[in-house]
Protein backbone atom coordinates (compact mmCIF):
# COMPACT_ATOMS: atom_id res chain seq x y z
CA UNK A 1 0.00 0.00 0.00
CA UNK A 2 1.42 3.41 -0.96
CA UNK A 3 1.76 6.15 1.66
CA UNK A 4 -1.07 8.05 -0.04
CA UNK A 5 -3.38 5.04 0.01
CA UNK A 6 -2.55 4.41 3.65
CA UNK A 7 -3.29 8.04 4.46
CA UNK A 8 -6.66 7.91 2.69
CA UNK A 9 -7.59 4.62 4.39
CA UNK A 10 -6.77 5.97 7.87
CA UNK A 11 -8.55 9.24 7.09
CA UNK A 12 -11.64 7.33 5.98
CA UNK A 13 -11.62 5.48 9.29
CA UNK A 14 -11.53 8.84 11.10
CA UNK A 15 -14.41 10.13 8.97
CA UNK A 16 -16.46 6.99 9.66
CA UNK A 17 -15.92 6.97 13.41
CA UNK A 18 -16.40 10.74 13.74
CA UNK A 19 -19.65 10.45 11.82
CA UNK A 20 -20.99 7.91 14.31
CA UNK A 21 -20.35 10.49 17.03
CA UNK A 22 -22.17 13.20 15.04
CA UNK A 23 -25.15 10.91 14.59
CA UNK A 24 -25.38 9.84 18.26
CA UNK A 25 -24.93 13.45 19.36
CA UNK A 26 -27.98 14.58 17.39
CA UNK A 27 -29.95 11.55 18.57
CA UNK A 28 -29.16 12.13 22.22
CA UNK A 29 -30.01 15.85 21.80
CA UNK A 30 -33.63 14.78 21.40
CA UNK A 31 -33.45 11.54 23.46
CA UNK A 32 -31.51 12.67 26.55
CA UNK A 33 -32.91 9.84 28.72
CA UNK A 34 -32.14 6.96 26.36
CA UNK A 35 -29.53 5.06 28.39
CA UNK A 36 -28.64 2.66 25.55
CA UNK A 37 -28.00 5.57 23.21
CA UNK A 38 -25.88 7.34 25.81
CA UNK A 39 -23.77 4.21 26.23
CA UNK A 40 -23.31 3.80 22.46
CA UNK A 41 -22.40 7.48 22.27
CA UNK A 42 -19.65 6.93 24.88
CA UNK A 43 -18.31 3.96 22.91
CA UNK A 44 -18.44 5.95 19.65
CA UNK A 45 -16.41 8.80 21.15
CA UNK A 46 -13.74 6.34 22.31
CA UNK A 47 -13.63 4.63 18.89
CA UNK A 48 -13.29 7.99 17.15
CA UNK A 49 -10.46 9.02 19.46
CA UNK A 50 -8.60 5.77 18.71
CA UNK A 51 -8.98 6.17 14.93
CA UNK A 52 -7.89 9.81 15.16
CA UNK A 53 -4.80 8.88 17.15
CA UNK A 54 -3.83 6.29 14.56
CA UNK A 55 -4.08 8.82 11.72
CA UNK A 56 -2.42 11.66 13.61
CA UNK A 57 0.57 9.57 14.78
CA UNK A 58 1.52 9.07 11.18
CA UNK A 59 0.19 12.13 9.34
CA UNK A 60 0.00 14.88 11.97
CA UNK A 61 -2.86 16.58 13.83
CA UNK A 62 -6.27 17.00 12.21
CA UNK A 63 -7.09 19.82 14.59
CA UNK A 64 -5.01 21.81 17.06
CA UNK A 65 -6.62 19.89 19.91
CA UNK A 66 -3.84 17.32 19.45
CA UNK A 67 -0.17 18.05 19.95
CA UNK A 68 1.99 17.11 16.94
CA UNK A 69 4.25 14.16 17.70
CA UNK A 70 8.00 14.80 17.73
CA UNK A 71 8.22 12.36 14.82
CA UNK A 72 5.71 14.35 12.75
CA UNK A 73 7.57 17.61 13.38
CA UNK A 74 10.90 16.03 12.50
CA UNK A 75 9.63 14.81 9.12
CA UNK A 76 8.44 18.34 8.39
CA UNK A 77 4.79 18.33 9.41
CA UNK A 78 3.39 21.84 9.84
CA UNK A 79 -0.23 22.89 10.41
CA UNK A 80 -0.26 25.17 7.37
CA UNK A 81 0.93 22.40 5.08
CA UNK A 82 -1.05 21.11 2.09
CA UNK A 83 -2.99 19.06 1.25
CA UNK A 84 -6.10 20.73 2.59
CA UNK A 85 -9.30 18.68 2.52
CA UNK A 86 -10.50 20.03 -0.83
CA UNK A 87 -7.11 19.31 -2.43
CA UNK A 88 -7.13 15.58 -1.70
Amino acid sequence: MSVFDERMALLKKVQQTDFVVVEWTLYTDTHPDDEDALEQWRVAIKDAAAARKQYENKFGPISLKSAPSRQALEVGWRWNQAPWPWQL
Binding site: L11, K12, V14, Q15, D18, F19, V22, E23, T25, L26, Y27, D29, T30, H31, P61, I62, S63, L64, K65, W84, P85, W86
Partner: protein
Protein backbone atom coordinates in the same frame (compact mmCIF):
# COMPACT_ATOMS: atom_id res chain seq x y z
CA UNK B 1 -16.04 29.01 19.65
CA UNK B 2 -15.11 26.67 16.87
CA UNK B 3 -12.02 24.67 15.98
CA UNK B 4 -11.15 23.76 12.41
CA UNK B 5 -10.75 20.08 11.54
CA UNK B 6 -8.53 19.35 8.56
CA UNK B 7 -10.86 16.78 7.02
CA UNK B 8 -14.20 16.62 5.23
CA UNK B 9 -17.27 15.24 6.98
CA UNK B 10 -17.59 12.73 4.12
CA UNK B 11 -15.24 12.10 1.15
CA UNK B 12 -15.89 13.99 -2.10
CA UNK B 13 -14.39 12.32 -5.15
CA UNK B 14 -14.46 14.13 -8.50
CA UNK B 15 -12.77 12.77 -11.59
CA UNK B 16 -14.15 14.90 -14.46
CA UNK B 17 -14.12 18.68 -14.93
CA UNK B 18 -17.80 19.70 -15.23
CA UNK B 19 -18.52 23.42 -14.72
CA UNK B 20 -22.21 23.02 -15.64
CA UNK B 21 -22.71 20.61 -12.73
CA UNK B 22 -20.73 22.98 -10.48
CA UNK B 23 -23.14 25.76 -11.39
CA UNK B 24 -26.15 23.61 -10.44
CA UNK B 25 -24.54 22.64 -7.13
CA UNK B 26 -24.19 26.36 -6.30
CA UNK B 27 -27.93 26.24 -5.55
CA UNK B 28 -27.05 24.38 -2.33
CA UNK B 29 -23.95 26.50 -1.70
CA UNK B 30 -25.42 30.01 -1.80
CA UNK B 31 -29.12 29.48 -2.55
CA UNK B 32 -32.22 30.05 -0.43
CA UNK B 33 -32.40 26.47 0.86
CA UNK B 34 -28.66 25.91 0.79
CA UNK B 35 -26.16 25.01 3.48
CA UNK B 36 -24.98 28.55 4.21
CA UNK B 37 -28.57 29.62 4.85
CA UNK B 38 -29.14 26.53 7.01
CA UNK B 39 -26.00 27.04 9.10
CA UNK B 40 -26.70 30.73 9.68
CA UNK B 41 -30.42 30.17 10.35
CA UNK B 42 -29.90 27.69 13.20
CA UNK B 43 -26.87 29.46 14.62
CA UNK B 44 -28.91 32.64 14.90
CA UNK B 45 -32.08 31.05 16.30
CA UNK B 46 -30.31 29.13 19.06
CA UNK B 47 -29.89 32.12 21.41
CA UNK B 48 -33.61 32.52 22.04
CA UNK B 49 -34.96 28.96 22.02
CA UNK B 50 -35.65 26.97 25.22
CA UNK B 51 -32.57 25.30 26.76
CA UNK B 52 -33.85 21.85 25.74
CA UNK B 53 -33.24 22.52 22.04
CA UNK B 54 -30.14 24.77 22.11
CA UNK B 55 -27.84 21.75 21.79
CA UNK B 56 -29.68 20.47 18.74
CA UNK B 57 -29.58 23.83 16.92
CA UNK B 58 -25.89 24.26 17.78
CA UNK B 59 -24.96 20.76 16.61
CA UNK B 60 -26.98 20.84 13.39
CA UNK B 61 -25.70 24.33 12.55
CA UNK B 62 -22.14 23.11 13.03
CA UNK B 63 -22.81 20.10 10.80
CA UNK B 64 -24.21 22.41 8.11
CA UNK B 65 -20.87 24.22 7.95
CA UNK B 66 -19.22 20.88 7.24
CA UNK B 67 -21.78 20.34 4.45
CA UNK B 68 -20.89 23.77 3.08
CA UNK B 69 -17.25 22.68 2.93
CA UNK B 70 -18.22 19.51 1.04
CA UNK B 71 -20.14 21.59 -1.54
CA UNK B 72 -17.23 24.02 -1.86
CA UNK B 73 -14.97 21.03 -2.51
CA UNK B 74 -17.32 19.79 -5.24
CA UNK B 75 -17.53 23.20 -6.93
CA UNK B 76 -13.77 23.76 -6.65
CA UNK B 77 -12.88 20.36 -8.08
CA UNK B 78 -15.46 20.56 -10.88
CA UNK B 79 -14.22 23.98 -12.07
CA UNK B 80 -10.52 24.27 -11.21
CA UNK B 81 -9.30 23.02 -14.62
CA UNK B 82 -12.04 24.64 -16.71
CA UNK B 83 -11.02 27.16 -19.40
CA UNK B 84 -12.86 30.50 -19.62
CA UNK B 85 -14.54 29.12 -22.74
CA UNK B 86 -15.79 26.03 -20.88
CA UNK B 87 -17.04 28.21 -18.04
CA UNK B 88 -18.87 30.45 -20.50
CA UNK B 89 -20.51 27.43 -22.17
CA UNK B 90 -21.68 26.28 -18.74
CA UNK B 91 -23.35 29.63 -18.10
CA UNK B 92 -20.55 30.81 -15.79
CA UNK B 93 -19.19 33.55 -18.09
CA UNK B 94 -20.61 36.30 -15.87
CA UNK B 95 -19.28 34.49 -12.80
CA UNK B 96 -15.81 34.27 -14.39
CA UNK B 97 -15.50 37.97 -15.26
CA UNK B 98 -16.46 38.91 -11.70
CA UNK B 99 -14.85 36.14 -9.64
CA UNK B 100 -12.36 34.31 -11.86
CA UNK B 101 -12.00 30.72 -10.67
CA UNK B 102 -12.92 31.62 -7.10
CA UNK B 103 -16.11 30.45 -5.42
CA UNK B 104 -18.94 32.78 -4.51
CA UNK B 105 -22.07 32.50 -2.39
CA UNK B 106 -24.69 32.57 -5.13
CA UNK B 107 -27.40 30.24 -6.39
CA UNK B 108 -27.49 28.28 -9.66
CA UNK B 109 -28.95 31.34 -11.39
CA UNK B 110 -26.10 33.58 -10.20
CA UNK B 111 -28.19 35.46 -7.60
CA UNK B 112 -25.97 36.40 -4.64
CA UNK B 113 -26.74 35.11 -1.15
CA UNK B 114 -28.94 37.30 1.03
CA UNK B 115 -29.92 37.20 4.72
CA UNK B 116 -33.56 37.41 3.60
CA UNK B 117 -33.32 33.64 2.98
CA UNK B 118 -33.32 33.21 6.76
CA UNK B 119 -36.22 33.51 9.15
CA UNK B 120 -36.09 34.08 12.89
CA UNK B 121 -39.31 34.71 14.79
CA UNK B 122 -38.26 34.39 18.42
CA UNK B 123 -41.08 31.86 18.76
CA UNK B 124 -39.62 28.36 19.16
CA UNK B 125 -42.49 26.51 17.46
CA UNK B 126 -42.51 28.91 14.51
CA UNK B 127 -38.72 28.69 14.22
CA UNK B 128 -38.62 24.90 14.41
CA UNK B 129 -41.34 24.52 11.77
CA UNK B 130 -39.31 26.90 9.60
CA UNK B 131 -36.30 24.62 10.15
CA UNK B 132 -38.23 21.46 9.26
CA UNK B 133 -39.42 23.13 6.03
CA UNK B 134 -35.85 24.24 5.26
CA UNK B 135 -34.55 20.68 5.65
CA UNK B 136 -37.29 19.26 3.43
CA UNK B 137 -36.60 21.88 0.73
CA UNK B 138 -32.88 21.11 0.89
CA UNK B 139 -33.64 17.38 0.63
CA UNK B 140 -35.75 18.02 -2.48
CA UNK B 141 -32.98 20.15 -4.04
CA UNK B 142 -30.45 17.37 -3.44
CA UNK B 143 -32.81 14.96 -5.18
CA UNK B 144 -33.08 17.25 -8.24
CA UNK B 145 -29.28 17.57 -8.28
CA UNK B 146 -28.87 13.78 -8.17
CA UNK B 147 -31.42 13.46 -10.99
CA UNK B 148 -29.51 15.91 -13.20
CA UNK B 149 -25.97 14.68 -12.39
CA UNK B 150 -24.25 11.66 -13.95
CA UNK B 151 -21.01 11.94 -11.96
CA UNK B 152 -20.80 8.87 -9.67
CA UNK B 153 -18.47 10.49 -7.11
CA UNK B 154 -20.60 13.62 -6.85
CA UNK B 155 -23.79 11.57 -6.64
CA UNK B 156 -22.40 9.51 -3.78
CA UNK B 157 -21.69 12.68 -1.78
CA UNK B 158 -25.05 14.24 -2.75
CA UNK B 159 -26.89 11.13 -1.56
CA UNK B 160 -25.10 11.37 1.77
CA UNK B 161 -26.17 15.03 2.09
CA UNK B 162 -29.75 14.21 1.09
CA UNK B 163 -29.94 11.62 3.88
CA UNK B 164 -28.55 14.12 6.40
CA UNK B 165 -31.42 16.49 5.58
CA UNK B 166 -33.83 13.66 6.38
CA UNK B 167 -32.19 13.09 9.75
CA UNK B 168 -32.14 16.80 10.59
CA UNK B 169 -35.81 17.10 9.70
CA UNK B 170 -36.61 14.13 11.96
CA UNK B 171 -34.62 15.60 14.88
CA UNK B 172 -36.36 18.98 14.47
CA UNK B 173 -39.75 17.22 14.51
CA UNK B 174 -38.74 15.51 17.75
CA UNK B 175 -37.67 18.88 19.16
CA UNK B 176 -41.16 20.27 18.42
CA UNK B 177 -42.67 17.35 20.35
CA UNK B 178 -40.29 17.95 23.28
CA UNK B 179 -41.47 21.57 23.49
CA UNK B 180 -45.13 20.61 23.16
CA UNK B 181 -44.77 18.04 25.97
CA UNK B 182 -43.19 20.66 28.18
CA UNK B 183 -45.94 23.17 27.38
CA UNK B 184 -48.65 20.60 28.15
CA UNK B 185 -47.01 19.67 31.47
CA UNK B 186 -46.99 23.32 32.49
CA UNK B 187 -50.73 23.51 31.86
CA UNK B 188 -51.40 20.53 34.16
CA UNK B 189 -49.44 21.74 37.18
Amino acid sequence: MWVYEKKLLYPVEVTTCNPMLARYIMEQYGGADGELAAALRYMNQRYTVPDKVIGLLTDISTEEFSHLEMLATMIYKLTKDATPEQLEKAGLGAHFVNHGHSLFYENAGGVPFTATYIQSKGDPIADLYEDIAAEEKARATYQWLIDISDDPGINDALRFLRERENIHSLRFREAVEMLKDERDRKKIF
